[in-house]
Each structure stands twice: as structure tokens, then as C-alpha cells.
């Protein structure tokens, strides 16, 4: 332990990775925009820093603001392969790290009957019988990799402990094989819906980014990009109405995905401008609870629904 500390002390502040993905914050913005992801300054800055400082990026925010999309866009920009670990209650080592292929090992043992035990033992615990799961896959590769750990808050607390080694040192210890270290650090994105408070230890190892609902101007650009047929004026009104709904105290505030859906619906309905009937008929696209719809109708002076 002491040795390890001494070895590490000179590079306590490691230099930026040898081949950073981005040259500047503006570069992040421009290149993400090419893939169809319009980033706010906060998002672009944090992605830039995550790349430069070589730290994992923890993204929180309400559903449907593009947390997962961000990881996909970064992967596309960097020409990297995307490795995804979807977390759920009860996800464990054998789903996240690696697993021994028991069936194959049994076959191997029964195939080599006349071998000595020592030969067999060294053989069945070799790479051939190892089934790599997302975390190991992401660390082992030589090509650029984006590792997406999705919905981290759904996983159990024990799983976080497992992630700590991976996220701080980018290495995984397989008892039978030794320690596998990353030859090339993956760009790690963790997402969370804040369903559970993630542990301090995990947060400490990450850059924290909260993606909220976008500013009006940015959202207008997003709508225009995703729904090209929509007129400028209609897009502006859509964004304004959604913004007003978010300011209300609703059970489920409409998020960007809902704005885009609504814009698509309006386009399909052939509406040229927002008016009472159109809004009343399509309010169900953005609001998912009956209470919310009634509240919004009162707010927007719609006749009773």
C-alpha cells in the first residue's frame, strides 16, 4: 500500500491524456452540433473538462433531456465504440464486470480426461473461458471507447463500490488472471435520475453535470433541428407554452422529448399556428396526468376539457 502511494506521488496531478478529443469548448459545441446534439454552454464545458481532466462524467437531470443522447453523441464525434451498461436493481459483478463460462469449462474438463489436474486448471482459467461484460470490455480495448453507465441510481449500493475501482484507476482485478488496466482510458458517462442519492465516494470521482430544461433560445433551435418542417413562429410559440407549463407546479413537467413530440404532432395535424382547439386536442402529448391537463387548461384559459 505504502509503495503504491510512493509510486503515485509524482504524478498526483496527471497531465491531460495524450490525445484529447476536443481542442476547445467551442469545438465541443460545433462537433456535437454536427451529430444533431445541441449542447448548452454548461454541457459543452463539462464534456470538454471530462475529456481534458480524464475524469468520468456524472450526468443528472429529469427524464427526457438527453442524458443518454449526450453519451451517444460524444461516441459518434470521437469515432469511438459505445459500450453500454444498463443498471437495474440487482445488477451484479457477473452482469457488469465478467463471468466465467461455466458450461464451456465443464466441456473442456470432460474433453481432456487424460490430462493432469494442474494442466486443466491453468487452462480453464484463461482468457478463452472469460465472458467479458461491459466494464471489462470498455477497459480492455485499444480503440477509443465511450463507456455509458446508464441509470446508475437503479443499481444497488454494492454496485457503486464495484464502480469505484473502475472509475478512479481504470482497472479491474480478476483473481485468477491478475489486474487488467486500461491501455487507453475510456470516456465514461454515468447517468442518474436521482431516484436515490448516489454515495459521496462515487460523486467525488466524477465531474458533476446537471442537465436541466434548456433555455428558450436553445430549445427553439432543438425543435427546429428535430422537426425541420415547422415554421419559425410556431416553434417559438410551442417553446413558450412549454416553458410556461414547466413553471407551473405539475406532477410531471414536460421535457425536451415531449416538446419535440408536440411539435411533430402539430406538424402532422397541419396546424399553422397555435390556437385554442389545437392546443386542447393535443395537450395530451405533453402532459401525462389528468390533474396536470386540467391545471394547464385553467392556466391557458382553455374551455373546460
Amino acid at each position: 500500500m505504502l509503495n503504491k502511494r510512493l509510486d503515485r506521488s509524482p504524478d498526483l496531478i496527471p497531465d491531460p491524456p495524450e490525445a484529447p478529443l476536443f481542442t476547445s469548448v467551442d469545438d465541443v459545441c460545433a462537433r456535437l452540433a454536427e451529430t444533431g446534439y445541441l449542447a448548452s454552454p454548461a454541457v459543452a464545458t463539462t464534456v470538454f473538462l471530462a475529456d481534458r481532466l480524464g475524469k468520468p462524467l456524472l450526468v443528472e437531470g429529469p427524464a427526457g433531456v438527453g442524458k443518454t443522447e449526450l453519451a451517444k453523441a460524444v461516441a459518434q464525434v470521437a469515432g469511438a465504440r459505445l459500450v453500454r451498461l444498463q443498471c437495474y436493481e440487482g445488477v451484479d459483478e457477473s452482469r457488469a464486470l465478467y463471468e466465467w463460462n461455466h458450461a464451456k469449462q465443464l466441456l473442456r474438463i470432460s474433453a481432456g480426461r487424460d490430462e493432469s489436474w494442474d494442466e486443466t486448471r491453468t487452462d480453464i482459467f484463461s482468457e478463452e473461458f472469460l465472458l467479458p461484460r461491459p466494464l471489462l470490455t470498455a477497459i480492455r480495448g485499444d480503440e477509443p471507447t465511450v463507456l455509458l453507465i446508464d441509470e446508475t441510481d437503479k443499481a444497488d449500493v454494492e454496485m457503486e463500490g464495484l464502480l469505484l475501482e473502475v472509475l478512479s484507476d481504470f482497472q479491474i482485478t480478476v483473481p485468477e488472471l491478475g489486474t487488467v488496466s486500461a491501455t487507453r482510458r475510456p470516456f465514461v458517462v454515468l447517468t442518474s435520475n436521482a431516484g436515490r442519492e448516489l454515495s459521496e465516494a462515487l460523486r467525488r470521482r466524477c465531474l458533476f453535470l446537471h442537465i436541466g430544461f434548456p433555455e428558450e433560445e436553445l430549445e427553439r433551435r432543438i425543435v427546429r433541428l428535430k422537426v425541420p418542417g415547422l415554421t419559425e413562429a410556431l416553434a417559438a410559440s410551442v417553446v413558450r407554452v412549454v416553458g410556461a407549463l414547466r413553471a407551473m407546479d405539475l406532477r410531471k413537467a414536460p421535457s425536451v422529448a415531449e416538446t419535440v413530440d408536440w411539435a411533430r404532432t402539430l406538424l402532422a395535424l397541419g396546424a399553422g399556428a397555435l390556437d385554442e382547439t389545437v392546443v386542447r386536442d393535443s395537450l395530451g402529448v405533453i402532459l401525462k396526468h389528468q390533474d396536470d391537463i386540467q391545471k394547464a387548461a385553467a392556466k391557458l384559459d382553455l374551455d373546460a376539457l
Partner: protein, 452 residues
């Protein structure tokens, strides 16, 4: 570079003083972020430092004003001072109509410089956001900005339907301007009195650290908005505790099934899940003026957790006691009006209006004694200030005997229990009493004390 290092450590120190846990590693990361981003763009630097130093979205409300103090937008007063009030209002109306943030910030600086100054001798002088806003009265510009906007857009290019929202949008912009004035006044005062002092005292703490007894209306409203997310977190935590508690005997079928992956050797026994019995909860809430903010918040929180329990009953009292479970059910649609409705519709007071724990608890034991059984956990919420009347310890003893557990949550600081008319020590001998002054303490207590 040492100057920058000093700023960053100063910033970190101020954030720590507001209760954020920031380690040295994060400070180093912040410095590296500053090196990568440079100081040309202040907003980029703000985002960069936020990304490296913060751990949760709630901390941002404290971080932003503190950042503004340590990395100010400008130094000293604005260059072109001297415009009078009416001219300033004209320009503000224009900026509000256009939604021009840069112009609004500049006007805020001019307004604070021109109207916010008070005192003349060095040491006692300063700048007041309150005084600035009181003289400028930006809220009275609403009608004018609205007519400007309507007039400008009258020729068909306007939002049409979306113009219904115009008033709210303008109000939002005015509110934004008020915040800018506040930030500007803080900055100017900090130049006189020293940054560290103002950063620690002048910045409002996050809502979950505000003392219930001193919380303002805005903060209580903000707390109420936090009820749903908080309840979701607590529910997850309770579910996890319940899962851990609900392990029973070996489930043979599932053990054999899972042993297939280890070649038929049952290495990990699978345990049978016990059928969960959901506990019952009874809440006794003092809703008299002094502690109503605390009780309202707790009632809403417990209501939001309702699917974790087989039965919740809520009683409110001042000096008489009445059941308000039904009111609370409807309260979900309109949490802000809950307190007022409870006081209007339930019989809570007898001949006088001040709280009397003895009579109320006695009435509970007598009339609703059947609500408490061996599976019930009782929470009493209140400051235990009985206005010098009999605390009626016998009633509490009776409730404690029947219930599975009784907890008392007291919103007063522990060193004030027993002072004046407080009967807290007497009650604390009979039931477990906990100090519960902030939303943060409350959620920690609920997570720990709620039965699973």
C-alpha cells in the same frame, strides 16, 4: 497564479462554510479546470468550477452567488453613472420588453450605484438591494412592458395564442432583474467589507438547511416543491431496508435453479422472501402558528409516502384535536393551501387560540384511542410549549403503552427544550424525542425512524 489559487481556495472555503463537503482533490480539479478553460469567458469558468466542485443540483443555488463574489463581473461602480430614476425606468422597460439580459445586468449595476447607497462614513456605508428596488419599483413596469410588446407585435408576427403567457413571462424577467440587483448589491458591499464575510453571511442557504421556525414564505414554498422528489428518495431507501429485513428460509426450488450456473453445486443459497406486512402510521401535528410550517411540510411528506404504509391517519391540534386525513388526501392537488384549509375546516380550538398539549393529547387518547394498536407507529410533531397548562403525561403514557413506537419530533434546538413554558423534558422521559430543525434533519430522521 497564486492569486488564482487564493481565489479558488477562498471560494471553496465559503462553500464549505455553507455545509458543502468539498475535498482537497476537488479543489485541485477546480484549479486544473481553470487552467484548461482560461479566464477569458467568465460563464465557462463558472460551469467548469461548478462541474468540479459540486455534487448535487441543490448546491447550485448557493454556488452561483458565491461565485459572483469571488469572480466578480466588474470592479467598482459602472462608468456612466448619473442617469435619474425616470430615465432608468424607461431604459429598463425597453430591456424587459426585449428580454435583453446584458442590458438588464448593466441597468442593475447603474441602479444600485445610483439609488442603493446608504450611509456616508466609511465602515457604516454600503449598498442595499432593498432600497434600490423600493425606489426603482420594477414591478410597476408590468403594464407598460405588456402594452409595448402587444403594440410592437400587433401586425400579426406575434405569438398569437402564446401571448396569453405574456404576463408571466414579463413577471419572470422582472424577477430576474431583482435577482441581478441583489447580486450587484452583494458584490458592491463585498468590495467594502471583504469577500469572505459576505460570502458566508449574505448568501441564502439551501432550502433544506433553513430552520423551520424561521423559514420565510418563499422558502416554505420551495420546500413544498421538494416534497415529491424527497419522498421518492425516502421510499427507495425504505424499500431497500425492507428488502434486507425480509430474508427468510432457504427457497429450495430457486436455489437448485440458480445452482445450474455452477455446475449443479448450490454455491449461493437463495432465501425465501417474507411477505411484507406494511406498518401503520399515526401523525399528531401541532398546527398552531409557531410551528405550522414544520407540521405542514411533514404532513405533506408523509402523505407523499402513503403507498409505503397500509394505513396513515393524521390528526391536527391546537388545543382541541381533529382528524384531517381526508383533507390531506385532497391536499395533494393544492399543497400551498393545505395549512389554511386545515385551520378553516377542522375543529382545532376551543375557547382560546393558543396551543394546549395536555388537553389535545388527552382528547386523542380518549376519542381516537382505537387508532393506535400494536402495529402502529406514532409521530408527534410540535415544540411541546404548553402555555403553562398541564402537560397531561398520563395520556402520553397511555398512547406509548399501546403503540409499537412513539417518536416526538421537536423543531426547536435542543438547548432550548425546557426553557420557558416548554414541557419537552417531561415528554422526552416518556417517549423518544428528536430535534428536527431543518428539512435535511427531517429526511434523515424519517429514513431512520420509519418502521419497515
Amino acid at each position: 497564479m497564486t492569486e488564482v489559487a487564493e481565489r479558488i481556495t477562498g471560494l471553496v472555503g465559503a462553500l464549505r462554510a455553507h455545509g458543502m463537503r468539498i475535498g482537497t482533490g476537488e479543489s485541485v480539479d477546480a484549479a486544473r479546470a481553470a487552467r484548461e478553460l482560461g479566464f477569458a469567458d467568465r460563464e465557462l469558468l463558472r460551469e467548469g468550477l461548478a462541474a468540479t466542485l459540486l455534487h448535487g443540483p441543490g448546491q447550485r443555488a448557493v454556488f452561483d452567488p458565491v461565485f459572483d463574489l469571488y469572480f466578480p463581473r466588474a470592479v467598482g461602480g459602472p462608468a456612466d453613472a448619473g442617469s435619474d430614476r425616470d430615465e432608468l425606468r424607461d431604459r429598463l422597460a425597453e430591456a424587459l420588453a426585449a428580454g435583453d439580459q446584458v442590458m438588464m445586468a448593466r441597468l442593475a449595476a447603474e441602479a444600485v450605484d445610483g439609488m442603493g447607497g446608504y450611509g456616508s462614513s466609511p465602515g457604516s456605508d454600503g449598498f442595499s438591494a432593498y432600497q434600490t428596488l423600493d425606489r426603482l419599483r420594477p414591478q410597476t413596469l408590468l403594464a407598460r412592458v405588456r402594452s409595448d410588446l402587444r403594440g410592437g407585435n400587433g401586425d400579426g408576427s406575434g405569438g398569437g395564442f402564446a401571448d396569453r403567457l405574456l404576463d408571466d413571462e414579463i413577471r419572470g424577467r422582472i424577477e430576474q432583474f431583482r435577482r441581478m440587483v441583489g447580486a450587484e448589491a452583494r458584490r458592491r458591499v463585498a468590495e467594502r467589507r471583504g469577500r469572505d464575510e459576505i460570502a458566508r453571511r449574505g448568501v441564502v442557504p439551501t432550502a433544506d438547511r433553513v430552520d423551520f421556525l424561521f423559514a420565510g414564505r418563499d422558502q416554505l414554498a420551495e420546500l413544498r416543491r421538494a416534497v415529491q422528489p424527497l419522498a421518492r428518495k425516502l421510499a427507495t431507501r425504505l424499500a431497500a431496508r425492507r428488502r434486507r429485513a425480509a430474508r427468510g428460509t432457504v427457497d429450495l426450488r430457486r436455489t437448485l435453479r440458480s445452482s445450474l450456473s455452477t455446475g449443479g453445486v448450490p454455491m449461493r443459497p437463495v432465501l425465501r422472501r417474507r411477505r411484507p406486512v406494511r406498518p401503520e402510521l399515526v401523525l399528531l401535528c401541532d398546527v398552531s402558528g409557531s410551528v405550522s410550517g414544520f407540521s405542514d411540510f411533514t404532513m405533506l411528506l408523509v402523505q407523499a409516502l402513503h403507498d409505503q404504509f397500509s394505513k396513515i391517519r393524521v390528526f391536527a391540534f391546537v388545543n382541541r384535536l381533529d382528524e384531517v386525513t381526508g383533507l390531506l388526501d385532497h391536499g395533494r392537488a393544492d399543497p400551498d393551501g393545505l395549512g389554511a384549509r386545515i385551520r378553516a375546516e377542522a375543529t382545532l380550538t376551543g375557547w382560546h387560540g393558543s396551543s394546549d398539549y395536555g388537553v389535545a393529547l388527552g382528547e386523542f387518547a380518549e376519542r381516537y384511542g382505537a387508532a393506535v394498536g400494536p402495529r402502529t407507529t406514532v409521530f408527534v410533531l410540535g415544540d411541546a410549549r404548553t402555555n403553562m397548562s398541564d402537560p397531561n403525561l398520563a395520556a402520553v403514557r397511555e398512547v406509548a403503552r399501546r403503540a409499537r413506537r412513539v417518536y416526538w419530533l421537536n423543531p426547536e434546538p435542543q438547548d432550548r427544550w425546557g426553557t420557558g413554558d416548554s414541557a419537552a423534558p417531561a415528554y422526552a422521559e416518556l417517549v423518544e424525542m428528536h430535534e428536527c430543525r431543518t428539512a435535511r434533519q427531517l429526511s434523515a430522521l424519517i429514513a431512520r425512524l420509519l418502521p419497515v
